[in-house]
Each structure stands twice: as structure tokens, then as C-alpha cells.
């Protein structure tokens, strides 16, 4: 730091120093913005959590930090009438729905991606139209169908059974992925005398694992989150409610404060978030796949 050591700066050094300082400023600016954004995304979870462990008395105040940590709020929610049933129903709906969707959508997606046939583009357009159709458009005839013809309202079957007949979004996403599977693999299997079905099972499925995982996750989340479906078909029968539907009625039906409602909210969010951490990569790849890839 003494003046004797410092040499006169050349113009090059000055330029480097300016560039370095600019890079450092840029780093600070970008990362401050990122921290601010992170607060926006994370603080809601934090406040929900802090309130979920407050006492009943404290939860009606504007306090942000719990005086005592009431962990048994979660136990109370768990033991609420119906909560366990809603869990079971949700798992049935989401689990069975996911399995059926993957099994029924994969062959369709394969045919749309790899077979050449007349009307293929038309079929694909129909898939996209189905994918974009608001569920409310067809809900009246569908409800009448399940209620008057099959007498299955009051259960979740009207939501599960259709998934055995292909899900447009899953078909589309799988087809986008299968387009990227090189033709040579499939032709090689054909030359070896594999039937199309065996080719799909032995050659295509192992290669399409990430896409299948993404589709399964999306469908699981879709069922888990569905509110409209259970409202239409199962609202009259509390025994058939799902978590998402039951949660919406939680606060009023218990006339409790925000603490138990927030605990219930967290219990509904938790499985989805845990699942995400186990399958983050497949999930993000899946989202990217839904975007246009020309």
C-alpha cells in the first residue's frame, strides 16, 4: 500500500480495473435482485408456517413470530373429522389416475410421433384442442352422463375412469419427447422382428423414462390440485372429498383461527413439495418440453 511500490498505472490496467469494478457491481445488482425475488417467493411459506404453530389466542393477533410453538396444531388437524378420509381419497384419485393416464397415453403418443398414417395431423390438432378445452365447456353433459346413466356421482370414479382413455396433455407431452427418439433404434428393433408393441415396451419406454416421469408427476399434481372435478361430482358426499376440496371448507366448518387452517394448508402442500424435491430434474425437463420446440 505504500507509494514506493505502486507503479504508474498503464491505460490497460485502468481499463481492466474499470471492467472488474463493473463486473462486481453487476454481480451485486443481480444478486440483490435475486435475493429480493427470493423473499417474494419464500416469505409467504414462512408466514404460513409461523402462523401454523401459534396458539389460538395469538393467531387472531397481527403477531408475526409465535410466542410458544404449538406443534400439536398439526396433530389436531390430522385428527379432524374427515381429514384422513380426504387423504385416502386423494391418494386413490391421484395414484390410480396417474397410472391409468400413463398406460393409456403412451401408445397414442407413440403412434402420433412415429407412425405415418393419413389424418395424423388432424388427430394431433384434435389432441391439442382437447388439451386447451376448458373443463367447464363440457361439464353439463358429462355430469348428466355420470349422474343419470351410470349413477356414479358422489364418488370420484367420474374423474378417474376417463383417464383410462388417454389424457390430451400427457399424449402431447409424450409425443413431443418421442419425436426426439432416433428412428434408427425403432427400425433396428423392427428388423430384429419385434412387434410394434414390443418395440414400444423394450426400446422406446426405457429411452422415454424422463418424459414418462414428467407426465406422471404432472398428472399426479393435477389430480392432487383438482378442485372443480370433486366439486362437481363429489360435493354432496363428504366421504368422497379430496384434500383440495376439503381444505376449501376447512376454515368455516371449524370456525377456528388461522393457525389450524394454515397447518392444514401446509399439510396439503407438503407432499407435492417433497415429491418435487425427489424428482426435480424430470419435472423441469417436462415443463421445458411443453414449450414450443420447432
Amino acid at each position: 500500500m505504500t507509494a514506493t511500490i505502486s507503479l504508474p498505472l498503464t491505460r490497460r490496467d485502468a481499463a481492466v480495473r474499470v471492467a472488474r469494478r463493473r463486473a462486481a457491481l453487476h454481480w451485486v445488482a443481480v444478486h440483490s435482485l435475486a435475493v429480493a425475488a427470493a423473499l417474494f417467493f419464500v416469505l409467504p411459506f414462512v408466514f404460513v408456517f409461523l402462523t401454523s404453530v401459534m396458539t389460538d389466542r395469538q393467531a387472531i393477533t397481527a403477531d408475526l413470530w409465535p410466542h410458544t410453538w404449538q406443534w400439536d396444531n398439526f396433530v389436531k388437524v390430522w385428527q379432524t373429522d374427515g381429514f384422513l378420509t380426504w387423504w385416502r381419497n386423494t391418494l386413490l384419485y391421484a395414484g390410480l389416475g396417474t397410472v391409468l393416464t400413463v398406460l393409456s397415453s403412451l401408445p397414442v403418443a407413440y403412434a402420433l410421433a412415429k407412425f405415418r398414417f393419413r389424418g395424423r395431423n388432424l388427430a394431433l390438432m384434435a389432441v391439442i384442442s382437447m388439451m386447451m378445452l376448458p373443463p367447464q365447456v363440457i361439464i353439463i353433459p358429462m355430469y348428466l352422463f355420470w349422474a343419470k346413466q351410470l349413477h356414479l356421482t358422489g364418488t370420484l370414479w367420474p374423474l378417474i375412469i376417463p383417464m383410462a382413455f388417454g389424457d390430451a396433455f400427457s399424449i402431447f407431452l409424450l409425443r413431443q419427447f418421442l419425436l426426439t427418439v432416433p428412428k434408427e433404434y425403432i427400425e433396428a428393433a423392427r428388423i430384429d422382428g419385434c412387434s410394434e408393441f414390443r418395440t414400444l415396451l423394450k426400446v422406446v419406454v426405457p429411452m422415454a423414462k424422463p418424459a414418462i416421469a414428467a407426465v406422471a408427476l404432472f398428472q399426479f399434481f393435477y389430480c392432487w390440485n383438482d378442485y372443480f372435478g370433486p366439486q362437481i361430482y363429489a360435493s354432496d358426499n363428504q366421504g368422497a372429498w379430496t384434500l383440495s376440496y376439503g381444505l376449501a371448507s376447512f376454515k368455516a366448518s371449524h370456525h377456528t383461527n388461522w393457525n389450524l387452517t394454515m397447518a392444514a394448508t401446509l399439510l396439503v402442500m407438503a407432499p407435492v413439495i417433497v415429491l418435487f424435491f425427489f424428482a426435480q430434474k424430470a419435472f423441469i425437463e417436462g415443463v421445458t418440453l411443453t414449450g414450443v420446440k420447432g
Binding site: 443481480v30 425475488a37 417467493f41 401408445p107 367447464q136 402442500m269
Partner: protein, 319 residues
Amino acid sequence: MALVGTPVPAALKRKRRREALRTLAFLSPWLIGFAVFFAYPLLSTAYFSFMRYDGFSAPTFRGLQNWSYVFTDYPSFWQGLRNTLWLVVVMVALRVAFGLGIGLLITKVKTGAGVFRTLFYLPYLAPPVAATIAFAFLLNPGTGPVNALLGDLGLPTPGWFTDPDWSKPALTMLAMWGIGDLMVIFMAALLDVPKEQYEAAELDGAGPVQKFRFVTIPNISPIVLFAVVTGVIQTMQYYTQAIVAGKVASGVIGGSGQQFEPGYPNGSTWTLPQMVYNLGFQRADYGSACVVALILFVISMAFTSLLLRRKSGLLASED
């Protein structure tokens, strides 16, 4: 087409028939699904829009009366349509802009990019009902942390979900919280922009703004278009969050939703899809419900047709 007129050998014919059967077999689950869960109910919706039907007595022909009822007498049709359009314009625009901003930010982050990406993505996963209830708590005017904070800073403390002027902005904020899907799509698009183009622009003396304007935007514009169109289609279906926010904020969360004032507060969260539910399942007027359903269908398909154009790439295939 050169083969037209020449007889097709029997073996080739057989092969073609086998291939057609195979295609049919692979497509069969969806073909049934298409017929039973798409084509039939669509035609049926169109049919019922001209009928009087309450679910019990046999449907009777009503001509265009359901249509004129919805347009002139159904009390909140125009308000609901206005709300839906408000959401389509404001919510979609802000979501796309914010998603692009966050996507851009995450591509610039050098330290802890993985952690930031996960944190930014997480809210997208929160189940809509849970996220809406969480926001109804965060924004509740009495004890909510957001208003407590705003109050401490001496800023105005709106009623959010209880104030007709603030309920849609509150829903918009909720939608921007769950931006993860758009962030990932934009991030992928931004990373796909060829580096050489930026370098070339730099050589030409372009600053950051010019690089964004003349290199980034043209490269990602198809993805922006895709995000806008799918955003519009999703927002046309906006239902769960609006209903749950209204129910929680009004303090009435009856299981079947019978006593709940639709669109609380003051009809400000009332949207087209809720009308289908209200007309069909609360008023047992299936005919008029189908009229609204058809309106919803026409608007959604108009936007879907934008996605079906060749340019957008949704129909692209390898051969």
C-alpha cells in the same frame, strides 16, 4: 402419386391393412376418449343450449330463449365477462412480463443459481386451493402480515380480497407468485439464443438494452407468443382461485357453496366458468349453463387456433 393407376400388389395391400389396424390399435384408447369425453359432450352442450332442462322433466325446445336470457336477464353476465377480460389482459400481461424478468434474472445469477431456481419455482407447485387460502391469510386486512408491514411503513392498507377494487389485483399477485412454469420455459429459451449473435452485436457497439431489443426479443418471440396464448386460454378457465378467495374472504365456506355470495366481494371475482357452475348446478338451468359454456368454447378455440398454425411449431414432426 406416380403409382396411381398401377395395380397394387396383394402383399403390399395386406401390409398396408396390417399397418392401418396397428395404428388403430395404438390410437384406440384415445379414439374412445375423444368420442365419449369430447365430441359427444360438445354436441350435447350445443343441443342443450337450445333446450329448457332442469335435470328432471324431459328437455323441451326453447329456441334462442336461453341465449337472450343469458345476454339480457342473467344478472351478472356482463360483469363476469368484464372480469374475465380484465384478468385475461392484466394477469396474462403481468405474468408474461414477470416470468420473462425472472427467467432473465436466473440466467444472470452466478452464485447459488440452483438454489434460487428452486426457490423461484416452488410456489408454482403449491396446490391452488392451498395457495389461495395462504394468500387470503397473508392479505387479510385485520391481522395479515402484508397489511401489518404496509402499516408499519406508513403505506395504505387495502382490503385486498374483501375490497371490490383490490380483489382482482390480489388474485393477480397470487398468479405472479406461481410463475415457476413460465420462468423455466423462458429460461430454456434464453439459453437457446446463439451466443455469436450477442458477440456480433457487441462488436457493432450495442449496449445491454439494444442487445435485448435486437437479439433476445427476436429469438424468443415464438416462446413469448406461446406463453401469451396458453396464458389467455388458462385464464379463460380461471375458476378455483377466484371461488376459494371469495369463499375464504367472505367467511362463508359451506361445503356445497349454496349460501356463498358468488363473486365476493360485490361480484368482482365473478368469471365466465363460475357462471356455468352457477346456472347449471345452483339454478338447475342446464340450458343457459350450456350457452355460457359455448361462449367459453368459442373464445378458447379462437385462441387455440393460433397455436395450431405451422409457425408456432406445436405440429412440427420429424418427417
